[in-house]
C-alpha cells in the first residue's frame, strides 16, 4: 500500500517536493523537540502510540508476566480451557497459550523492528547515494531496485526465505535470516523513497554550499540529505512494522515461518486452524495479538503522516 502511494507520488514531483526544506526541517525538529505535544494533537497517533507503548512494555516484561515455560509441552493437559492456571488455556501440545502469546510477541516485535531497521539501513544509503550521485550510478542502482520491485506480492519473500534455508540455522541465526529476508525485500521501497528525496535535495543550495566549502561528497549526501527525507521514511517504516507481522504470519501459513517450538504468533495461529471449530480459543489469542499490533502500528503511522506529510493530513 505504502509502496503504491510512494510510487505514484514519486512522479508527482511537484507535490512531494514543493515544501521548502526549512519548513520540513522545522517539522522534523518539532517532532523531536515537542514530539509528544505534537503527537498528542493527533488522536490516532495518540491511540496508536499508547498501544505501541503497551506492546513494548509487555514485550519487555514478558519474563515477569509469563506464568509458564512457553515451549514445555504436557500432553496430559492439552487443549485445556481458560483457567486460573492457564489464563488463555493450553494448545494442542498442552503448552500455556498465555505465555506463548507473550513470548511470541516479544519475538515477533523484535523481528519486525529489526527487519524494518535492516531494510532502512541498506535502503537509505542505497537510495541517497543513487539519487545524489545521479547519472550512471543512479541508472544502474534504480534498475536494480525496479527489478526487485517488479516481483509482485509475496514472491520475493518466498524466494528469499526459501533461499536462506540453505544456511545453517540455529537459534538466533534463524531469526537473523528471517530479519535479513524481510528487510531485504523491504529495501527497494526504502531506496526509492530515499532516492526521490535525495534527488530534490541534491539540487538545493545548501548542498551546493557544502560542496563549495569542500565537504566530502559522501558525507554531504548522508549528513545533509538524510534529515530532509526522514519524514516519509518514518511514516513508511511505522506502517511497515505492522505489515511485517502479517508477512511473518503468511509465511508461517506457507510453511516458511519460524520452526517450532519457538513461540510465534503467526505460526501459532497457523497451527491452531486445525482446531478452529472445537477449540477456537487457541486461535483467538494469537490472532487478536496480531490484529492488535498491526492496528497499533497503523494507527501510529497514520497519525505520524498527519503531522509530517501535509498532503494526506487529516487536519
Amino acid at each position: 500500500m505504502e509502496r503504491q502511494l510512494r510510487s505514484v507520488r514519486r512522479h508527482d514531483t511537484a507535490a512531494a517536493d514543493v515544501t521548502p526544506w526549512k519548513i520540513r526541517m522545522r517539522r522534523v525538529s518539532a517532532v523531536s523537540r515537542e514530539g509528544l505535544e505534537e503527537l498528542s494533537k493527533s488522536r490516532t497517533a495518540t491511540l496508536g502510540g499508547i498501544m505501541i507503548v503497551f506492546l513494548f512494555v509487555v514485550a519487555l516484561l514478558t519474563p515477569v508476566l509469563a506464568t509458564h515455560d512457553p515451549i514445555k509441552p504436557d500432553y496430559r493437559d492439552r487443549l485445556a480451557p481458560i483457567s486460573s492456571e492457564h489464563y488463555f488455556g493450553t494448545d494442542k501440545f498442552g503448552r500455556d497459550i498465555y505465555s506463548r502469546v507473550l513470548y511470541g510477541g516479544q519475538r515477533t516485535i523484535a523481528i519486525s523492528v529489526a527487519a524494518v531497521a535492516f531494510g532502512l539501513a541498506i535502503g537509505i544509503p542505497f537510495g541517497i547515494l543513487s539519487g545524489y550521485f545521479g547519472g550512471r550510478v543512479d541508472a544502474v542502482g534504480m534498475r536494480f531496485v525496479d527489478g526487485l520491485l517488479a516481483f509482485p506480492g509475496l514472491l520475493l519473500y518466498l524466494l528469499i526465505v526459501t533461499l536462506s534455508r540453505e544456511w545453517k540455522l540455529e537459534g538466533f541465526w534463524n531469526d537473523a535470516i528471517l530479519v535479513f529476508a524481510l528487510g531485504f525485500a523491504f529495501m527497494p521501497e526504502v531506496a526509492r523513497l530515499a532516492r526521490g528525496a535525495a534527488l530534490v535535495e541534491a539540487r538545493k543550495e545548501y548542498v551546493e554550499a557544502s560542496h563549495v566549502i569542500g565537504e566530502h561528497r559522501f558525507s554531504v549526501a548522508m549528513r545533509q540529505i538524510l534529515p530532509n527525507c526522514v519524514s516519509p521514511l518514518i511514516v513508511n517504516a511505522t506502517v511497515r512494522l505492522g505489515y511485517m507481522i502479517l508477512i511473518i504470519a503468511a509465511l508461517s501459513f506457507l510453511g516458511l515461518g519460524t520452526p517450532p517450538p519457538t513461540p510465534d504468533w503467526g505460526a501459532d495461529l497457523n497451527v491452531a486452524r486445525d482446531h478452529m471449530e472445537q477449540h477456537p480459543m487457541i486461535a483467538i489469542f494469537p490472532g487478536l495479538a496480531i490484529c492488535f499490533s498491526v492496528l497499533a502500528f497503523n494507527l501510529f503511522g497514520d497519525g505520524l503522516r498527519d503531522i509530517l506529510d501535509p498532503r494526506t493530513a487529516e487536519r
Binding site: M1, T13, G147, F151, P152, L154, L163, G242, R273, N298
Partner: protein, 316 residues
C-alpha cells in the same frame, strides 16, 4: 506526451533485463534442485542417474551459459518445459495467470463500490461516529491475517450459512454463473482488505480536495455543497484512488498465494509457490518474469493514466 510514453517504454527494457537476471539468480541459488525434489521422501538417485538428469535439464552447464540459453529462448517466446510435469511452461502459465487476474480484478472491483462511498462519507462527516466506524472497520480490514480471515469466511458463509461453495474453481468461460459462485468467497477475502485500503485512501484524498481553494471559490459562488462534492471534489479525489487500485492489482498478481492455497484456486501465485517447493526452475523463472512484466506494464499504464487525469503533473 508521446515522447514521454515512448521514453518510459524504453526504460522498461533494462528493468525487465534486471528482473530476469535477478529471478534467474535467485532460482539457481535455491538450495537443492528438482532432482532432489522429484526423488521425494524416498529413493535416492545414484550419481550417474543424477548426472544424466542434470544433463537433460541443462543443469550441468555454467550458470551464465544456462542464463544465456534461457534468455535466448525466452526472447523467441519459448519458456521451456516444466521439469516436473514435462509440459510446456507457456501452457501452464496460460492456464494459471487468467485465473489469478480474474480473482484480483473482481476482488478489487468488489471493493470499489463499497470503499469509495464509505471513504467519501467518512471524509464529509469527518470526526463523527460514521467516520470513526469507517476508519476502525478499515483498519481492522488491514490488520487481520489473510489466511485467518479466509478460513473464518469459509466457516461463516459456507459451513454455517450454506450460501456459497467453500472452495474450488470453475472457469468463467465454461459456466459463468457457476464460476461466479466459486469466485465470491475468495474475491470477498481480497475485496475486504482492498476495501480497507481504498476507504482510507478515498477519505484522505477527499479531505485533501475539500480544503483546496477551488472549493472555497465554488462555495463563494453559491454552488450547492452537494454539487461541489460530487461534481468536483470527488472526481479529483478519485484520481489517486483509481491509480492506486491499478497498482494494487499489479501487486495482487503475486500476492494471492495464501488465498489461492486456501480456496484451491489454481492461480499463478500458488503455481509459483509450488514450483519453488519443487525447484521447478523453468516455471518459477517464467512465472516471475511474466508477472514482473505485467507489473511494470501496469505501473506504466497507471502512471500515464495518472498524468492524463492530472495534467498538473509535469512530464519530467
Amino acid at each position: 506526451m508521446l515522447v514521454y510514453v515512448l521514453n518510459r517504454i524504453l526504460q522498461l527494457i533494462p528493468v525487465v533485463f534486471v528482473l530476469s537476471v535477478l529471478v534467474f539468480g535467485f532460482v539457481h541459488a535455491l538450495p537443492g534442485d528438482v532432482i532432489d525434489s522429484l526423488a521425494g521422501d524416498e529413493a535416492a538417485e545414484d550419481p550417474e542417474v543424477r548426472a544424466a538428469l542434470e544433463k537433460e535439464f541443462g543443469l550441468d552447464q555454467p550458470i551464465y551459459v544456462q542464463y544465456a540459453v534461457w534468455a535466448g529462448k525466452v526472447l523467441q517466446g519459448d519458456f521451456g518445459k516444466s521439469l516436473v510435469t514435462r509440459r510446456p511452461v507457456s501452457v501452464e502459465l496460460l492456464e494459471r495467470i487468467p485465473a489469478t487476474v480474474y480473482l484480483a480484478v473482481v476482488g478489487i472491483g468488489l471493493s470499489m463500490p463499497i470503499a469509495v462511498p464509505l471513504g467519501t462519507i467518512a471524509a464529509i462527516r469527518r470526526n463523527t461516529p460514521t467516520d470513526y466506524a469507517a476508519q476502525i472497520s478499515s483498519l481492522i480490514g488491514i490488520s487481520i491475517p489473510e489466511f485467518w480471515f479466509a478460513i473464518l469466511c469459509i466457516m461463516l458463509f459456507s459451513l454455517h450459512l450454506g450460501w456459497l461453495p467453500s472452495s474450488g474453481y470453475v472457469s468463467p468461460l465454461d459456466d459463468l454463473g457457476l464460476s461466479l459462485t466459486y469466485l465470491v468467497l475468495p474475491a470477498l477475502a481480497i475485496g475486504f482488505r482492498q476495501a480497507a485500503y481504498t476507504t482510507r485512501l478515498t477519505r484522505s484524498s477527499m479531505l485533501d480536495e475539500v480544503h483546496k481553494e477551488y472549493v472555497d471559490t465554488a462555495r463563494s459562488l453559491g454552488l450547492p455543497e452537494r454539487k461541489i462534492i460530487y461534481k468536483y471534489t470527488l472526481r479529483n479525489a478519485l484520481i489517486p484512488t483509481v491509480t492506486i487500485s491499478g497498482l494494487q492489482l499489479a501487486n495482487l498478481l503475486g500476492g494471492t498465494v495464501v488465498l489461492e492455497s486456501i480456496f484451491s484456486w489454481p492461480g499463478i501465485g500458488l503455481t509459483i509457490y509450488q514450483a519453488i517447493q519443487l525447484r521447478d526452475f523453468p516455471v518459477i523463472q517464467a512465472g516471475v518474469l511474466v508477472l514482473g512484466v505485467m507489473v511494470v506494464t501496469i505501473n506504466l499504464l497507471v502512471d500515464i493514466l495518472y498524468r492524463f487525469l492530472n495534467p498538473r503533473v509535469g512530464l519530467s
